[in-house]
């Protein structure tokens, strides 16, 4: 008899890939990104996962190529360690234990044996400092790295809010409305601050910072969508900046191109903007990137750009702003209203994805198989706008039919029940029937009659609603040869019980009986004649869930 082991959770995927800026390997063959506790290495050419570096026991917060050996990689994590990897072979070379939570990692070619990390200041909540960590060269797998020296106090925890300037001569860090620049050689710290708001309603809070690779120029992004280019910041008073403005909302990340001739910026508009020579007039756009851009990075030879998005996607873009590849992880929808459903055909997990979309996520490969546009409406990125969302999903037994319910609540409720048929030819779902307002109120549950027979005429769908009825939908065959499609769905039966709200529904295994729960009562119906067979009362309390 084996003693019952403690519950063990194995993380196998689905983690956010936008925890840190992704980096390209030398030659831009691979893309390395942090994903949960792992570092993932994707092939740029095929977008396949090539290597999975596991070893950290908490979120990975920074990934940087080792400056002196470009086949090695530093990673930092909240577990307080910096690990050095040989990423092509997936081998952990060294672990440096720092002992603090590490929130961001910067490795510079100019500082040979130390890296910079952001750690929480001990004793104070929500204050962070930028420190340099000396990495000992001694042999051995596990090392202690306790030689810390503070570079900047009071920095922001986000890795985007600190950047190192040309040849590591200075570091710039932004927090709220303050920019501080520290020159290493001169040991000079300059602080600049802006007014929090201006008369025209601007919001000057800094959101991100980037440094020009060859000139003394700092680009900062702001909460009102402005980008400021700071120059002459080695003078405390005679500093100057110019402003670029296209974004209408927060600038989320900035990156200079390799030579510094252009500047890339991204924000919630999901448009990558390329500014040329710091001029306001010349700019290029790559629009429709799907969702807000969290991070922008550039390969070391400048041939590829890469954007990490809030919907757990990484987009690889050619340097001429042509869309190239996309790597999609599990999308964390704002609200998973559909619950978790398994597609019987692909065994993929089906749930809310992008707004108005259904994502099919493969657990084994930790990859999104595809995304089905259910709502088929343009999604507008604006706060406070009510937009249609997907709330219920049900598959028939073989996955031949898919039923979806979407709703939009403005003053009245808008409901749509859509039935999708799996097209073998195109290997995707095709819209078969669209029923608007199937119920007068929210649909609470939905199920197909699961029969093993392949005949379509035995297939039926039951929906229950808060308008106190349940409805049975069946397939009708259209005899008109002119009709575009021969099959369509229509309502067959409407049942109710003492004007209680219908909450759940379930078929018996052979499909002969239908159980519908009405608040505290379960009713059993004959599925061929729709007679009420019997009722079970289950006080006290409403029935939450039901299954056979």
């Amino acid at each position: 008899m084996v003693a019952p082991a403690a519950l063990r959770v194995v993380r196998c995927g689905g983690r956010a890939m936008h925890g840190a800026r992704a980096v390209f390997s030398v030659g831009a063959r691979f893309l390395l990104c942090a994903s949960g506790d792992f570092v993932k290495m994707y092939s740029v050419a095929t977008e396949e996962l090539v290597q999975l570096l596991r070893g950290h026991s908490d979120l990975v917060t920074g990934v940087q190529l080792a400056p002196h050996n470009r086949l090695q990689l530093y990673s930092s994590s909240l577990d307080g360690t910096i690990k050095l990897w040989d990423f092509t072979d997936g081998i952990l070379i060294k672990t440096f234990t720092v002992g603090y939570q590490l929130l961001a990692l910067y490795a510079l070619p100019s500082s040979e044996d130390s890296v910079f990390v952001i750690i929480p200041k001990s004793g104070e909540r929500d204050t962070f400092q930028l420190v340099s960590v000396k990495l000992t060269k001694a042999a051995g797998q596990d090392m202690e790295a306790k030689e810390l020296s503070v570079v900047l106090e009071g920095v922001d925890a986000s890795p985007k809010c600190t950047a190192f300037g040309r040849e590591g001569e200075y570091v710039a860090s932004v927090k709220d409305v303050n920019l501080q620049v520290y020159f290493f050689k001169q040991k000079q710290l300059n602080r600049f601050s802006l007014r929090a708001t201006n008369k025209k309603g601007g919001n000057n809070v800094f959101t991100c910072v980037a440094c020009h690779p060859q000139e003394d120029c700092i680009a900062t992004g702001h909460a009102d969508g402005k980008i400021r280019l700071w120059r002459n910041f080695n003078h405390k008073k005679e500093y100057t900046f110019s402003t670029l403005h296209w974004h209408h909302d927060k600038v989320l990340d900035l990156a200079f191109s390799l030579e510094g001739t252009s500047l890339l910026s991204g924000g919630v508009e999901s448009v990558l903007v390329q500014w040329h020579c710091g001029s306001d007039c010349k700019r290029d756009f790559l629009p429709r990137l799907g969702s807000a851009i969290e991070y922008v990075s550039i390969s070391s030879d400048g041939t590829f750009y890469c954007t990490s998005h809030t919907d757990n996607r990484i987009t690889i873009i050619n340097s001429n702003l042509r869309f190239s590849k996309t790597i999609q992880g599990l999308i964390k929808a704002r609200d998973v209203k559909t619950g978790l459903v398994v597609d019987p055909r692909t065994k993929a997990l089906v749930l809310n994805g992008e707004p108005g979309h259904l994502q099919f996520y493969c657990l084994q490969s930790d990859k999104q198989l595809y995304s089905l546009d259910i709502v088929q409406q343009e999604y507008i990125h604006q706060a406070g706008l009510n937009q249609s969302d997907l709330v219920r999903v049900a598959f028939s037994a073989q996955g031949k039919w898919l039923a979806t319910v979407e709703e939009r609540e403005e003053t009245d409720l808008e409901l749509q029940l859509k039935l999708w048929f799996f097209d073998e030819e195109t290997q995707s779902f095709k819209l078969n029937t669209r029923i608007s307002m199937p119920h007068e109120d929210h649909i609470t549950a939905m199920c197909f009659r699961d029969t093993d027979e392949m005949e379509d005429d035995s297939l039926m769908l039951v929906t229950t609603g808060r308008d106190c009825v349940f409805k049975v939908w069946v397939i009708l065959e259209d005899t008109d040869p002119e009709a575009q499609q021969s099959l369509s769905w229509s309502c067959d039966f409407v049942g109710s019980y003492h004007s209680y709200q219908a909450t759940n529904c379930c078929f018996s295994e052979d499909g002969s009986l239908l159980a519908v729960s009405f608040e505290e009562t379960v009713t059993v119906w004959d599925s061929s004649t729709w007679d009420l067979k019997c009722t079970f009362c289950h006080p006290p309390g409403k029935i939450r869930f039901m299954c056979t």
């Binding site: 001569e169 003394d216 008073k237 005679e238 110019s242 209408h248 001029s279 010349k282």
Partner: protein, 684 residues
Amino acid sequence: MGEFEVHRVRFFGLVPAGVRCMAYQHNGRRLALARTDGAVEVYNFAANYYMEKVSGGRERGGQGWRLFGAGLSGDITEYDLERLRPARAVDGFGGPIWSMAANNDGTRLAIGCEDGSVKLFQVVPGGGVQFEKNLDRQKGRVLCLSWHPSGTHLAAGSIDFIRVLDVHSGRTAQRIMVNCHVPKSKKRECVVWSIAFLSSGTVISSDSFGRVQFWDWERGTLQDSHTVSSSAALSLAVSEKEDSIVVGTSAGATYQFQLLPVKAGGQEKRWVRTKPFQHHTHDVRAVVHTPTALISGGLDAQLVIRPLMEKVQKKGYDAALRKFTLPHRRLVSCARKARLLLFQFSQHLELWRLGSTNKTGKDGETLPLSRMPEHLLQLKSKGPEHIYCSCVSPCGSWIAYSTASRFHLYRVQHEGDSISVKKVPGVPKLLLPAYQLLCASDSGRLFIASDRGSVHVVQLLEPGGCKHLHTLRPPAGTREAVYLLASSADGNWLAAVSGDWEVHVYSLKHFKHHCTVPTYSCAVTALAIHPTTNNLFISYSDQQLFEFSIPEKQYTAWSRAVQNSGLHKLWLERDSPITHIAFNPKNTSQVLLHDVYMLCVLDKSLPLPDDSAVLVNQSTLKQLSEPARRRQLHAFKICKKFQVGSPLLFADLLDERCLVTVERPALDISAQLPPPVQQKKFGT
């Protein structure tokens, strides 16, 4: 019931003319500004940007220093800054003059003409200019000119090209086409609106495509090009150190460019566009770069002084943004007894009768009019000259005005509702022009301010005649003209301010100089003599207030107290100067002061506020209880109703119960301007 019945007059249809060009004199810290209607104004920056001098000219053009003007008439005019009028004119013989530039040491003047010629003139030390030579002529009008700081070369901008001329040989040393880099489809003529020649050999041009371009003149190559606007970049100015330039565009924006090191400590420097400013709604036709500020003037008649914060040493008056639209002069005169207002425009005068009401109401209430204000008369001045000053007598039966060369006096006869005007014959030939006119309070005498510090006293005779009584002159003599006058109610005293800021008081009984007010180092903006105490109240452009007792020939005790305790900080930092002073006949301690944004009743019997007190506290005082109010009271009772879009041009007390204010709503001015350049705004 309120304290005063207020006439809020809004029918003065003044539209200030747009700014055409500016010139700045560094060591005198004075700015000369020419408007599109030909008026030339001089601002003194040391005296809180006070508009010192105005001269009604006719031309448009650019200036050097001594002040020269040139315009489409083809003449070069030198302005006499003491007598405030054009002194001499020389014909350029090249058609309309589009541009003028003086070299660094001010010895030579270059003009660019319609026929494409660039001509050099020698500035004669005694006055005037003398033709020196013609430089190489090429077709196309010369729109802008700039001297190389060494004075050996001249850069000239025309349509589609820039030329660099060798001054010594007169040959064209370089010719640069500016519209090479424009796509064929968009090819249209490219007007080089402005040009600057740096000592490093870089030529900067701003053109109608909205570009600012930096050229190497010796090789004729483009070094750098910045597109600042989709419409034209009209004006350009370089700082003295040549490390910063300012560009004005037709969309109303100005941009600063700075020459910054690419790397800290490195030798390589690059021009970088840094700060944009949007203070204008229309074309920015002229910009000036002073060591501490960017100055821009536009077609919307605004003069904007934007300080460069990093160059200003301490926070103070110079560190704030200043905007001037309306002149610092009185353009309205008021006949108190007859309740008439005389409005002065550049070419005509308007006489209005105030409306009246027979109702009374509560404080703050608007009363219905029983008789509407009436436009009685319009007097057009003859010839192209601008009206320099005007006045109406308190009884309303005399109107006098003066242009640069002529003085006019009219007799107005009121017969019931009809009105007739007759020119008074036999006006004495006086030393002209007149700079200020003032009528004595009994309407019996007219005071005419003239140059060399003199004031003419003219007796007005019924039924329509006049006689020159006397000319008052300061004992020491001066070269500057008198620009402000004040007479006492009893007709005994007259105070006159000349351009050197000396205030002389004359006795009118004996036509004798009485005394001189101790000299103060700032321009007088307004002065008035109290009707009962005969104290002279003076306001200066640095916002200081003085009270001088004429009988005792010394400052009053109150004035000394003000100087000892100092005025409130906010009072001293105000934008615009006091332009008129009046007294409340009912309460001898009350003085009425106003500038463009506020009206202040100064009560000398109340304590002065210190810096910790709230200066503008009328609305909070209203909510306090009687004893608390008594504690908070201080001498300055300020009404700021005019702040928001409705500048105050004039305020005066008609009698002890009746106040008249003349406002000019900013919206009415902008409605008169042409539509601005269309610009796409996000979200519209």
